[in-house]
Amino acid sequence: MSTNEIAIGAPILSCHELKKSFLGVVAVNGASFEVPKGLITALIGPNGAGKTTVVNLLSGMMKSDSGTMHIGNTDVTNWPDYKIAAQGLMRTFQLSRELSGLSVLENLLVAKRIQSGESLFNIFFRNGLVKRDEAVNIELALNTLKKYGLYELRDNRASALSGGQKKLLEIARGVMANPVILLLDEPMAGVNPALIDKIGEYIIDLKNQGMTILMVEHNLNIVEKICDFVIVLAEGKTLATGRLSELRADEAVVRAYLGEVINANTSS
């Protein structure tokens, strides 16, 4: 079954009993959850809960010690990251990792997944095909840049962008690859409030286009505003899953993470 045939809301990405430790320090200790298709899912949890490690495991940048994971019905446990990307899962990084020596436009162009111009044979013997494909890609990349407000910066080296612009570039680059699932690792960390709202809108927009989104996020106001579904991690385990309103009634979740926020909200 391809990922296209999965109904909206049915699980598209799932992991079971994922474990990972670093030199004896357990980072992820049996995380199991399912990410529903076509919705925005938040991955929350206190610092050190293993959120980023889970993202690294899901995207294939790290190999898990044990456990399984599936995209659709395909078992992708411990596949290398480039193969997982080919399955339609694309990630962004918590600390923006732009390709510094490339222009902003090239950062997007490079993200296109299958390019005829990446084959040595095609470059020399099927130049027409390469040119046609490249033209389409350039148009797509320019339109994507326009959408994310980076068009004016297209010819700058990516290293010259500001922190917020780099965050936008990370997202735009992920979108350019047209993934089925987009993993956003704290897309709004260290960004000014106006841009946070903007990024929120972009994410909702992507969902409306049918993309599945899993985002690591600390700010519960944002989670409440844009996310449909929440996964709470604590001490490397899945503590609870559900809607944020339901989770607020869950005592364990409140104790682990939400407590202070809810108290702050009620007292103000």
Binding site: I123, A135, I138
Partner: protein
Amino acid sequence: MGLNIQFGETGILNFAYIGFVAVGSYVTGATSLPKANTGIGAGQHYILGLNLPFPFNLLAGGIVSSLLAVIVAFIALRRLRTDYLAMVLISLSLVLYDVCNNFVPLFNGPDGLYNIPEPMSGIFHLDSNQFVGFFAGVTGIFALIMWLFMSRIMNSPLGRTFRAIRDDPGVASALGKNIFKYQITSMVIGAFFAGIGGGLIIQFGGSFNTSAWLPGETFVVFAVVIVGGVGNNLGLLVGSLLVETVLVHLPAFLPDIPGHTGLIQYIDAMLIGILLWAMLWFRPQGMVPAKVRSTASLLKKYALKKNPDLQNVEVK
């Protein structure tokens, strides 16, 4: 140029570059000579001896050098990154050197190969002096072809992916690029160029031995790339003119300082070192910095000519 695609474009620190040049040179020499100890090959020991005509011997040099790159890549590149890879490659260069220097049956040990037939001089009835000018022209043509070949790769989406891997292999991999595959491609192209370059050296000079490629020579090639400007062909031209011609070869024509024979060579080596250091410190982008490829140039190249739909994408 070969090192530029490996180091400047893909970020592989190939400290064994001169080894690939040498392999190309030896193989070209050995394939163009007749069987060992016969005819002009008398008194020499070597393998192959295929008596291949130009340019097939040159091609053989390039191909064997590429094959070596594939082997090295599968062993070293698969597991190691940057610093460690660089160390392995330095040792590779030393091992290659020692093997060629001491294992006489391979390429005649420290004496190297000599009496290599002058390519095509038979066809055009050239004497030795005419041959020098003629072959300089041939080398120029080869350089031009290689330049065009390399520009094509560097300006293509493949070149862009190479640069993405140079900037951040982790991101490139997360974007779905099989970086090992691209690094092998880059290694093979670079080694092929090194091999051809080595082949041209032996064809030009007629001989080649271990004194011509001390492993330290690799750093002169690195100096060419770094001084000229990492990641672009024009920079390489400037770099090689400055480092190779002015600093490496010109001093050979200077008169000796009386009483200090050979002192000039040492000063020369120091100058290259100081230049390398100064460039890295004050101008790391090189004499001719690589330009960012602009949208306008990309549109001109790919879009506006063939794809009329794109004309409504505004270009400022």
